[in-house]
């Protein structure tokens, strides 16, 4: 009995030492990576705070629906925004606009949409709650615009000059750069 107990102890020790010595014999792979995802805001060459369309290029077929997000890059906290979006109204039509998480707190944001001959005005307001009277800061989706394609061709998406974002004190936030988008209907 003593012998078998000693044998088990010895075997366990050999296993432990064996494991340690095997580990001594090799090393592992070094982490090699490329942070080159085109949707990574760092790779977009935008000077924050900025507004851009995501994805910046959409290829689709005639008659299909597409969605494009209006994105804010490193935005400060804000209470309301007016987006003046220019699109080719002969190529696509706006179906709907859905607010994103940027202005969503405990309450859902309030939105007003005016779509008139290639100019889409989207007004979004943060509804204050017990925690805050303005949105969180950072890189967030502000709204998603759904389009339907009506003719073939390439159309551009642009932010117009009336685009503004204001904080809870109604002061205008500085936007350093505006990105553009393309819709290619085949």
């Amino acid at each position: 009995m003593l012998t078998s107990y000693n044998s088990i102890l010895t075997f366990n020790k050999i296993k432990l030492f064996g494991l340690c010595f095997i580990l001594l014999a090799f090393s592992c792979e070094d982490a090699d990576y490329d942070l080159d995802n085109p949707y990574d805001p760092t790779n977009m060459d935008l000077d924050p705070p900025a507004l851009f369309f995501h994805p910046p290029e959409v290829s689709t077929n005639l008659g299909e629906s597409i969605s494009v997000e209006v994105y804010g890059l490193k935005l400060d906290s804000s209470a309301g925004a007016h987006f003046d979006i220019r699109y080719d109204w002969g190529s696509v039509t706006v179906d709907s606009v859905v607010p994103g998480p940027f202005f969503t707190g405990l309450n859902d944001p309030m939105e007003i949409i005016v779509d008139e001959q290639g100019i889409l005005d989207v007004f979004i307001y943060f509804l204050p709650d017990v925690n805050s009277d303005q949105s969180q800061s950072g890189t967030w989706s502000i709204a998603t615009v759904y389009f339907s394609t009506i003719s073939r061709g390439e159309s551009e998406l642009l932010f117009g000059p009336n685009t503004t974002i204001r904080d809870a004190n109604n002061e205008r936030l500085t936007i350093n750069e505006y990105g553009s988008g393309y819709i290619n209907v085949e």
Binding site: N6, L9, K13, I14, L16, F17, L19, C20, F21, L23, L24, A25, F26, S27, C28, E29, D30, A31, Y33, L35, N37, Y39, D40, P41, T42, M44, H54, P55, Y71, L73, G138, T139, W140, S141
Partner: protein, 339 residues
């Protein structure tokens, strides 16, 4: 975190050493026996060697004593470098002195004398090293040649072990039921591997498990030192590997999500995580590489040390193969290489 790791390593090392200590204490108070090579008077040296080894083997098989290996017992040459006459140690003082040096509890010294044409006298003395006294003396007569001598040696092994001699051995001249020298030789011609020199054996053991060769040749402290050092480094490598694995898992998961992701918000959050996990995995991998370098160096030193401290065998020393030995004439360590 580092303190906790240190405590865990210390506990593991002390656990390993503690079990070894317990075992060595029980061995020291027990039954370690060294059989000095019998002295042959008027019989050939190879036959004396063979009979001594058979005697050792028989006692070992009876499992009353833990019989020290031939190579280790012959290490006594280091203490008494007289050429092949250390067996002349017949007195109590000499045997006890040798026993202490060999770190055993009992020593057997003996001789085989050729009295007449076919008559041999085998004498043996059993000394207790712990009690520092002669415990028993055995004398046996044999009227045959080698087969009978073999039987007598086996009988003596039973006597030394305090066991009754079995009938198969007591028949005396009837050798039909026991292996005779010729049979043993024939069998060994098929299965016996070439003898491995003690130095090479110690080297191989230390190559497999650092320190084990040193422990086997009774250099216990350096042996435990090498074993403990390598085990500690191994544990450090294990802990590093655990942390590396964790960091690598985090890196793979986040990098995969980053590569396949399309949401700028999520990608912006993933980017610093990928960089952080990559840096951590590189750091732990670099630590493992450093440990590997240190451990490999110590491992090689341990192998060389095992080879150097292991005793040289008579058949091995300077006759063939290679050997490292100190030459007092030129006051240099020399590398002998012979075929």
């Amino acid at each position: 975190m580092l303190v906790i790791r240190g405590i865990i390593i210390l506990h593991l090392v002390s656990f390993c050493l503690a079990t070894e200590t317990t075992r060595s204490v029980s061995m020291k108070t027990g039954n370690q026996l060294a059989v000095l090579e019998f002295e042959g008077w008027s019989i050939s040296e190879p036959l004396t060697k063979f009979l001594t080894e058979e005697f050792r083997e028989t006692i070992r098989e009876l499992e009353i004593f833990q019989v020290q290996d031939q190579g280790l017992t012959n290490e006594i040459n280091i203490f008494y470098p007289r050429k092949k006459n250390y067996w002349a140690c017949w007195s109590e003082d000499c045997a006890i002195d040798l026993g202490k040096r060999l770190k055993v509890n009992y020593v057997i010294a003996g001789n085989i004398q050729k009295k007449d044409l076919d008559e041999f006298l085998i004498s043996g003395r059993l000394f207790s090293i712990d009690m520092e006294t002669l415990i028993d003396e055995f004398t046996m007569n044999s009227s045959g040649i080698t087969d009978s001598l073999l039987l007598e040696m086996k009988k003596m092994a039973y006597n030394v072990s305090g066991l009754p001699v079995p009938d198969t051995l007591s028949v005396g001249t009837d050798t039909s039921e026991v292996a005779i020298t010729g049979d043993i030789k024939r069998k060994r011609q098929w299965f016996k591997l070439p003898p491995i020199p003690t130095k090479i054996k110690a080297l191989m053991m230390s190559t497999a498990i650092p320190g084990s060769g040193q422990i086997w040749v009774q250099r216990k402290y350096p042996g435990y030192g090498f074993l403990g050092t390598e085990a500690t480094l191994g544990m450090a490598a294990l802990i590093s590997y655990y942390n590396y694995n964790k960091a690598w898992g985090g890196f793979e998961e986040n990098y995969s999500s980053y590569q396949n992701g399309t949401d700028p918000h999520i990608l912006e959050e993933l980017r610093p995580k990928v960089i952080q996990y990559a840096q951590e995995s590189r750091r732990y991998n670099s630590f493992m590489k450093s440990i590997r370098g240190v451990a490999a160096s110590i491992w090689i030193v341990n192998m060389v040390h095992a080879y150097l401290v292991a005793p040289s065998d008579d058949y091995f020393d300077g006759e063939y193969f290679f050997d490292l030995e100190y030459n007092p004439n030129v006051n240099q360590l020399q590398f002998n290489f012979n075929f």
